[in-house]
C-alpha cells in the first residue's frame, strides 16, 4: 500500500520529546514535506472518488471512510505543480484539521509517504518569502540528513484557502 522506509530511528529521549515534535514526511513533486504526526489519522491508497460539482480542480471529491464523508484534496494541483497520474503508489494521507474549534477530517493526495522524523523546535527555521506557495501554510524549514523538509501547517492549508476559494467558485 504505502512505502514507508524501514530504516527509521526515532530518538525519543526525554529532551527530544519536550523540545521537538514528530513529523510524517511525504514526497510531492520532488520535494519533501512534513506534517505533524499527531494530526495524521491514517494512510490509505487511492480509491475512486465521487466528484462534487462546482469545486476547484484540486478538490477531487469525497470518499467513504468507514461511514464518514471525507473530502480529498490533490496537493499537486493545490500547489500548482504539474499533474501526474494516479498509480498504485499514490497515497492518501487522512488528516485531522481543526477549524474554529471544530475538528474535520480531510485527505490529501501525495506522491509517496517518506518517513517519521523528530524535529526539534530550534532546528526549525522560519520560511523565507518565496513566490511559490503561500507562506501562511508553511510552518518552517528543517534540515534532516542533508535534505530540506518543508513543514506544513495543515490547518491553514486546508481551511482558509480551500474554503474561501471554493465558496467564491460556487457562486
Amino acid at each position: 500500500m504505502s512505502s514507508i522506509s524501514d530504516s527509521t530511528k526515532l530518538d525519543i529521549g526525554n529532551d527530544a520529546r519536550i523540545n521537538s515534535s514528530q513529523y510524517l514526511t511525504f514526497l510531492l513533486g520532488g520535494e519533501e514535506y512534513g506534517v505533524d504526526i499527531l494530526r495524521v489519522q491514517e494512510i490509505k491508497g487511492w480509491d475512486n472518488v465521487t466528484q462534487i460539482p462546482n469545486t476547484p480542480d484540486y478538490i477531487k471529491g469525497v470518499i467513504n471512510l468507514r461511514g464518514a464523508i471525507v473530502p480529498i484534496i490533490d496537493l499537486r494541483q493545490r500547489f500548482n505543480l504539474e499533474n501526474s497520474s494516479y498509480g498504485p503508489t499514490t497515497v492518501v494521507i487522512v488528516l485531522k484539521v481543526i477549524n474554529h474549534e471544530k475538528e474535520r477530517t480531510v485527505g490529501i493526495v501525495v506522491d509517496a509517504v517518506s518517513d517519521v522524523y523528530n524535529i526539534a523546535t530550534d532546528e526549525m527555521k522560519p520560511p523565507p518569502d518565496f513566490g511559490g506557495i503561500d507562506i501562511e501554510f508553511v510552518n518552517g524549514l528543517a534540515t534532516i540528513e542533508d535534505k530540506m523538509v518543508i513543514t506544513l501547517n495543515i490547518d491553514e492549508l486546508l481551511n482558509t484557502a480551500s474554503i474561501s476559494e471554493a465558496e467564491t467558485a460556487a457562486h
Partner: protein, 677 residues
C-alpha cells in the same frame, strides 16, 4: 459536607416546566360549576413542588410568588373558596409569569419585575377578598384574612405524628418561629409517653396546646410556620375572640383584575431546545433485544469461517442465509433506534388549548377546539420545527376562518366555531390536519388580491388548487385588517418553506361558507430519504422521491427552445424548463442530444422543471450524511449517502438546483451557447 447543589438545577427547571404544563392544562380543564377534586389536587401538588424546589435552591422570588398561588389553590382545595373565571384567569396569567421567571432564572436573566408585582397584587387581592360563598362553610376556623393589625388570639393544638422527628423537623424550632409572630404560651401533653424501656428516642410522643396572641397574626401566618410539617402532624388552629368573625366586613376594593395585565404578546417558542429526551423503557428493551440478535447472527456467521477446503456449496448457502438474516436484524435495529427519537405529538399539541382559549377571548369568538391523534409519534427534531408553523395555521383559522358568533348565527351555523387538529400516520408519513368550519377561502378575494399585487395576469384562468397556491406567495394576505396575530402576509410562505425544509408539503382544501382544511405531510424522520438513483455521465446522484413528479422518455417534437438559450418541454398542457444537470455541475453526460436521455420532472418551490439524466437506476432508502461535517455546503447538493457498493452518491437539492438554473449563464445550456457562437 456541602454538596454542589447547582448540578440539580437543570432537573429542577425541567420538572418545574412540566409542573407548569400540568397546572396550565388543569386550569383550562376546570369546569367552573363543578370543580373536579383530582384536577385541583394535581394543580396544587404541582405548585407545591415548584415552591418547595425553588425554596431549596434559594430562588426566593419564585418561591414567594408560587407561595401566593399555592395558598389560593389550597383554599380552593379545602373548599373554602369556590372557583370563578376571574380566579382561573389570574392563575393562568400567574402560570405564564412563573414560567418566565423560571426561564429567566435558568438563563440567568432578569425577569419582568413589573409584571411580577402586578400579578402578586392581583393574587393578594384575591386572597384578601372575602368570598361570600365560603362564609357558609364554617369549619370552625376563622377565614378572616384581613391583615388589619388588630390583636388576635389563637388556640393551636399541635400533635406531631410519631415519625415527625425523623423528617428532620424539631418542634422547638417551630415554636421559636411562632414566637416571632407574637406571645406564645405552650402546654405540653405528656400522656403519649411510653415507659422508658419501650421508648424509641427517635420518635415523638408529645403533643402541645399553644396559645398565640399578636397583632395582625392571621391563620395564614401560623400555617406558614407549620408548612414543612403539615403532612406529618395534626394541626388545629382556632381563633379565640370570635367577635372579629361576626363583624361586618367592609366591602373591599379589589384591584380590577379585568384590567389587561401586561402580557407579553410575543409568545416565545414554548419548547426550549432541550438537549435531553425521555425514552420509554420498552423502547430501550426492544433495542437491547435487537442488538442481542445481531450478536447471535454475527457469531453464527463467524462459525462459517472454517477451512477453505470445506468451502462448498452448502457453506455458500449458509452464508447467504446468514447475510439475509443479518439484513433483517439490521433493518429492525435501525427502525428501533429511529423510534427512540420519536415522541408523541402531544408535546406540541399541548400548547394549543391555552392559545385557543386566549385568542378566542381576545377576539370575542367562541371556539370549540378538538385535538385527536395526540399519541401519533414523530421525530423530535421535526416536532420542534413544526410547532411554529402549526401555531400560525391555527391562529389563521381562528382569526380569519371562524366568524364572529353573530355572523355564524345568521348563516345558520352554531355560534361556537370548531377548530380541529388531527394527526395520524399514513404511508410512511405523518399527516397533520388543521380544519375549521368557518368562512372558508374566498376565491374571488384571493384572485383580486393577486391581481392587485401583480402576481397573476388579467383574465387568466386558474384551477382551485392554483388559486389556493397563491396564498403561499410572500407578502400575500387577504385580511382586511392587520392584527398583531396575523394578516401581515409574512406567514404562509414561511410556513410552507419550513414544512418543505423538513421534507414535507402542505395542501389546502376549502369550501366557501363551510370551512377550510390544511393538510401537512411530513416524512417520519429526517435522516432517511426515499430516493431515486440516476446516472448522469459517470456519476450517480439521488433525487428525493417526494420531489419527483414523473419521469419520461423525451419525445423530440415536444422540445422547444426559447431565444436559443433555454429549452422547454411540452408536457400535456404545460411547458417545463429543461435543466441539463451536467451543465450546472460542470460534469459530463453521456448524451448531448436530448433524445438519448431521460427527463425526470421534479417539483420544488411550486415550480416544475425537468432534469436531463442518462439513466434511471433503482429506488432505495438512503441514509443522509451531511457534507458539511468534513467539507462545506455545496449549492445544489443537500447531502451525500453511501451506496451498497461503498461509493458515495450525492443527493440533489431540488430547490437549490432550480435556483441555480435561474441564474443567467450558469452553465444551463452551454451546449446551445457553444453551438450559437
Amino acid at each position: 459536607m456541602s454538596i454542589d447543589i447547582t448540578q440539580f438545577h437543570q432537573t429542577f427547571f425541567e420538572e418545574s416546566f412540566e409542573g407548569l404544563d400540568i397546572m396550565e392544562s388543569g386550569l383550562l380543564d376546570l369546569d367552573i360549576g363543578a370543580v373536579d377534586n383530582d384536577t385541583i389536587n394535581a394543580i396544587f401538588r404541582a405548585a407545591h413542588s415548584i415552591k418547595g424546589g425553588s425554596a431549596t435552591f434559594g430562588f426566593t422570588n419564585i418561591a414567594t410568588f408560587t407561595h401566593a398561588m399555592e395558598t389560593l389553590l389550597d383554599e380552593i382545595r379545602d373548599g373554602h373558596r369556590s372557583v370563578s373565571t376571574e380566579i382561573v384567569e389570574v392563575l393562568l396569567q400567574s402560570v405564564d409569569c412563573l414560567r418566565d421567571m423560571i426561564t429567566a432564572q435558568r438563563d440567568e436573566e432578569e425577569p419582568d419585575g413589573e409584571r411580577i408585582t402586578q400579578l402578586q397584587q392581583a393574587l393578594d387581592g384575591l386572597l384578601g377578598k372575602e368570598n361570600e360563598d365560603s362564609e357558609d362553610d364554617s369549619l370552625g376556623g376563622s377565614q378572616n384574612k384581613h391583615d388589619d393589625g388588630a390583636p388576635r388570639e389563637w388556640d393551636i393544638s399541635f400533635t406531631p405524628h410519631p415519625h415527625l422527628l425523623k423528617t428532620g423537623n424539631d418542634p422547638a424550632l417551630l415554636f421559636r418561629e411562632l414566637e416571632s409572630l407574637g406571645t406564645l404560651t405552650t402546654e405540653v401533653d405528656l400522656t403519649g409517653l411510653p415507659p422508658l424501656s419501650e421508648m424509641d428516642p427517635e420518635e415523638c410522643y408529645l403533643s402541645w396546646k399553644l396559645k398565640l396572641s399578636g397583632s395582625g397574626v392571621s391563620e395564614e401566618n401560623i400555617k406558614e410556620v407549620f408548612e414543612w410539617v403539615e403532612d406529618d402532624c395534626d394541626l388545629v388552629i382556632k381563633e379565640i375572640a370570635p367577635a372579629t368573625a361576626t363583624e361586618e366586613k367592609p366591602p373591599r376594593e379589589i384591584p380590577s383584575n379585568k384590567k389587561p395585565i401586561a402580557k407579553s404578546v410575543s409568545k416565545k417558542s414554548l419548547t426550549p431546545e432541550s438537549s435531553s429526551i425521555r425514552v420509554s423503557i420498552d423502547k430501550v428493551d426492544t433495542l437491547i433485544n435487537m442488538v442481542g440478535e445481531l450478536v447471535i447472527t454475527q457469531s453464527m456467521m463467524g462459525n462459517l469461517d472454517g477451512d477453505f477446503e470445506d468451502f462448498d456449496h452448502a457453506r455458500l448457502e449458509q452464508l447467504r442465509e446468514g447475510l439475509s438474516l443479518l439484513e433483517r436484524n439490521i433493518r429492525e435495529l435501525q427502525e428501533s433506534v429511529m423510534r427512540i427519537r420519536m415522541l408523541p405529538i402531544s408535546f406540541i399539541f399541548s400548547r394549543f388549548p391555552r392559545m385557543v382559549h386566549d385568542l378566542s377571548q381576545q377576539l370575542g369568538k367562541q371556539i370549540n377546539f378538538e385535538m385527536s391523534g395526540e399519541q401519533t409519534e414523530l421525530d423530535k427534531t421535526v416536532m420542534e420545527k413544526i410547532g411554529d408553523p402549526l401555531v400560525h395555521l391555527v391562529r389563521n383559522s381562528i382569526d380569519h376562518g371562524i366568524e364572529t358568533p353573530e355572523i355564524r348565527k345568521q348563516a345558520g351555523k352554531p355560534e361556537a366555531g370548531s377548530v380541529n387538529l388531527n394527526a395520524y400516520h399514513k404511508g410512511g408519513n405523518i399527516v397533520i390536519e388543521i380544519s375549521d368550519d368557518g368562512a372558508g377561502l374566498n376565491k374571488d378575494r384571493i384572485l383580486s388580491k393577486a391581481l392587485e399585487k401583480g402576481l397573476i395576469e388579467e383574465g387568466c384562468q386558474l384551477s382551485d388548487e392554483k388559486i389556493f397556491e397563491l396564498l403561499f406567495q410572500p407578502g400575500f394576505s387577504t385580511a382586511e385588517t392587520v392584527s398583531d396575530i396575523s394578516g401581515r402576509g409574512v406567514g404562509m410562505d414561511v410556513v410552507r418553506r419550513n414544512i418543505r425544509g423538513l421534507g414535507g408539503n402542505i395542501d389546502i382544501a376549502s369550501k366557501e361558507g363551510q370551512g377550510t382544511t390544511f393538510t401537512i405531510r411530513l416524512p417520519l424522520t429526517l435522516a432517511i430519504l426515499d430516493g431515486q438513483l440516476v446516472r448522469i455521465g459517470n456519476e450517480t446522484y439521488i433525487i428525493p422521491l417526494i420531489s419527483i413528479v414523473e419521469s419520461l422518455l423525451i419525445a423530440p417534437e415536444n422540445v422547444n427552445s426559447i431565444a436559443s438559450t433555454s429549452e422547454v418541454y411540452k408536457l400535456r398542457e404545460e411547458y417545463i424548463p429543461i435543466i441539463r444537470t451536467h451543465g450546472l455541475f460542470g460534469t459530463t453526460s453521456d448524451a448531448e442530444d436530448l433524445e438519448d436521455g431521460l427527463l425526470v420532472v421534479i417539483e420544488g418551490d411550486g415550480q416544475k422543471v425537468g432534469l436531463f439524466v442518462d439513466e434511471l437506476l433503482g429506488q432505495q432508502q438512503v441514509v443522509i450524511k451531511s457534507l458539511e461535517t468534513n467539507y462545506q455546503r455545496v449549492a445544489g447538493i443537500s447531502g451525500a449517502t453511501i451506496l451498497g457498493d461503498g461509493t458515495v452518491a450525492l443527493i440533489l437539492d431540488v430547490e437549490g438546483i432550480i435556483g441555480m438554473s435561474r441564474k443567467p449563464g450558469n452553465g444551463r445550456n452551454q451546449h446551445l451557447e457553444k453551438a450559437v457562437a
